[in-house]
């Protein structure tokens, strides 16, 4: 328990000081957006035991919705962010209701296929800008006071949101709902026989996860100023799986660490090896699945438990 508090404090301190340490704030914000995305994904995979291969659909649709509302309809920053999350929630309700009809690998394939459908809609719909996407999305002002054009101001807004999402997910997992969700993950037939309507729990978990993934996508669109097809493609769905798996699914800090590692890897490795980065990401994926399925944080935790027993 004490270690956990110390680790959290250190992570928060580091995140709060990041702009002062000379780390490019836009990079920091991108990292935080993907950390939110991975935490949202982990709620479904780690605690709900459901592997979605289509989370880019929620991330991307919210990015498009927020961008569109800000650029074409002049919405404010906060309402547009919320609207993006709501769009993702509705989409999550639709796709989730279909996907929870099957389990395991079929669940993964259904989410993948539905996300591909969303991708084609984004490719061809008139309001998404096709191949170009939506460019030049202004960040606007926070509550009419703080100008978010400043990278530092925007950074602290994104950080505040990330911390809020993190605390929210912890709260969900530690609530009776979260406990039931994990029980369903462990033994579905038993929970059915105990009288729980498991589909309602699964669907709620799916919608919550989609909503928060949407928030991440909406934030990312504001941070970088664009929403493109790259936000909805299957590679993005794969990346968030890798982040979660690499850091450690079913842990709280794992997805944050995983997102930080993958985003950093992509950013810096791209300068060195160019497009070979896809191959490296694929290889990391395979190694992760073969060698440490619990992820970095998961393995560390397991190792600590072992060490304490000795």
């Amino acid at each position: 328990m004490r270690t956990t508090v110390i680790v959290y404090a250190l992570v928060c301190l580091f995140a709060a000081c990041m702009p002062l340490l000379g780390i490019y704030p836009v990079f920091g914000m991108k990292l935080l957006c993907f950390a939110i995305f991975a935490c949202a994904f982990n709620l479904l995979l780690g605690f709900g035991g459901m592997l979605s291969f289509g989370h880019a659909a929620f991330f991307g649709s919210a990015a498009y919705a927020t961008s569109r509302l800000v650029t074409a309809h002049g919405w404010g920053t906060m309402p547009a962010l919320l609207a993006g999350a709501v769009v993702a929630a509705l989409l999550g309700l639709l796709i989730g209701a279909l996907a929870i009809r099957r389990r395991g690998i079929y669940f993964a394939m259904i989410t993948l296929a539905m996300a591909q459908l969303v991708y084609f809609v984004c490719l061809e719909a008139p309001f998404t800008g096709g191949e170009n996407g939506l460019q030049g999305v202004p960040r606007g002002q926070l509550l009419g006071v703080v100008d978010l054009k400043s990278d530092v101001a925007m950074y602290y807004l994104v950080l505040a949101m990330a911390v809020a999402v993190f605390v929210f997910i912890r709260r969900i997992v530690n609530s009776p709902f979260g406990q039931i969700l994990m029980a369903i993950r462990e033994n579905e037939p038993r929970m059915i026989s105990l009288g729980y309507e498991i589909n309602r729990y699964k669907l709620l978990a799916f919608v919550l996860s989609a909503t928060l993934a949407g928030l991440a996508g909406a934030l990312k669109a504001l941070v970088l100023g664009f929403a493109t097809l790259a936000d909805v493609v299957q590679e993005t769905s794969g990346e968030v799986i890798l982040m979660t798996l690499l850091g450690g699914s079913a842990t709280f800090l794992g997805p944050v660490l995983g997102a930080a590692l993958v985003v950093t890897l992509q950013e810096y490795l791209f300068d060195v090896v160019g497009d070979w980065v896809t191959v490296i990401i694929g290889a990391v994926f395979a190694i992760c699945v073969l060698v440490f399925r619990r992820g970095i944080v998961g393995e560390l935790a397991a190792w600590r438990v072992l060490a304490r027993r000795r």
Partner: protein
């Protein structure tokens, strides 16, 4: 000529034939997936990557060694199938007994490695592969001129799928394969080399993907991305048909190609997504899939 819904019948029949060609690819690919899953218990996300590898083997074989199309039809599935066996032995074997989701994730990583490498080594732009001389020209079906090569694709795909179905469901070899899935240790006790069988079924399924790749090479541009979105469509086909059934995979694949062709006539904008819409409908009406046994 007569019209249906304001569309000339000739156009409809023409699109249906082209749909059947696409359906042939769906059938071959979903058959390969069904073999790998049904007999090996792995969901192969790298199926699209192996499909692209098959096409590349044909292309590079021709460029480097002057390998002709007919030889490529044999060589590419063999080479890619052996590569598949290697992947199974080195990587997938280690996941035996775990949740099949891990196999899905591992093969996803594998797909990224294969596609990324092809992209880096042979460029992003696609390369064309010539139609073999014996299959140029077209057949007059009276309602359309069907390119001879496309007719060949349908024949080859149906013949191959039929053979695979027969071997697995009706022969002694097929019975052994199914027994290996049903109860591996027991079969091994009878002196059968079960690990070899598991590797060979994976190789066989992958070889089917490679064969589809060679068949498609003269029709599309050969590129590293050629299988990326195809594999998602084939997954949807598999969800619709139910993955346990070999015959289901073949029939569903062909049928969806035809449905897609039909959509191209009536509402072209939806032709990319119609398979996914059908999948959603099937999930609502019959969650286990059309041929599923759940």
């Amino acid at each position: 000529m007569t019209e249906i819904l304001g569309v000339p019948v000739a156009v409809i029949l023409g699109q249906l034939m082209l749909g059947l060609v696409n359906g042939s690819f769906y059938a071959l690919l979903s058959l390969g997936l069904a073999v790998i899953f049904g007999l090996g218990g792995v969901v192969n996300f790298a199926h699209g990557a192996f499909y692209a590898l098959g096409a590349f083997t044909a292309l590079l074989g021709m460029q480097w060694f002057g390998l002709n199309y007919w030889a490529a039809l044999l060589v590419a599935p063999l080479v890619v199938g052996l590569l598949g066996m290697l992947c199974q032995q080195l990587l997938l074997r280690r996941l035996a007994g775990l949740d099949p989701l891990y196999g899905l994730l591992l093969t996803f990583g594998l797909a990224l490695v294969i596609q990324g490498s092809l992209h880096q080594l042979f460029g992003a732009s696609g390369q064309s592969y010539p139609v073999p001389a014996a299959l140029t020209g077209a057949i007059n079906l009276h309602f359309m001129f069907l390119p001879r090569y496309r007719a060949w694709v349908i024949v080859a795909a149906v013949a191959t799928s039929g053979t695979v179905w027969y071997v697995i469901e009706r022969t002694r070899l097929g019975a052994t394969l199914r027994a290996a899935r049903e109860n591996g240790p027991l079969l091994q006790a009878f002196g059968v080399n079960v690990p070899l069988i598991v590797a060979a079924t994976f190789g066989g399924g992958v070889a089917l993907a490679a064969l589809a790749g060679v068949l498609s090479a003269p029709l599309v541009l050969v590129s590293s991305e050629m299988g990326t979105s195809l594999v998602v469509v084939v997954f949807a086909v598999v969800v619709i048909g139910g993955m346990g059934s070999i015959l289901g995979a073949i029939v569903t694949g062909l049928a969806l190609g035809v449905i897609e062709g039909f959509t191209k006539v009536l509402y072209p904008e939806a032709s990319n997504v119609v398979v996914f819409v059908v999948m959603a409908l099937v999930l609502i009406l019959r969650p286990a899939g059309l041929f599923g046994k759940e």
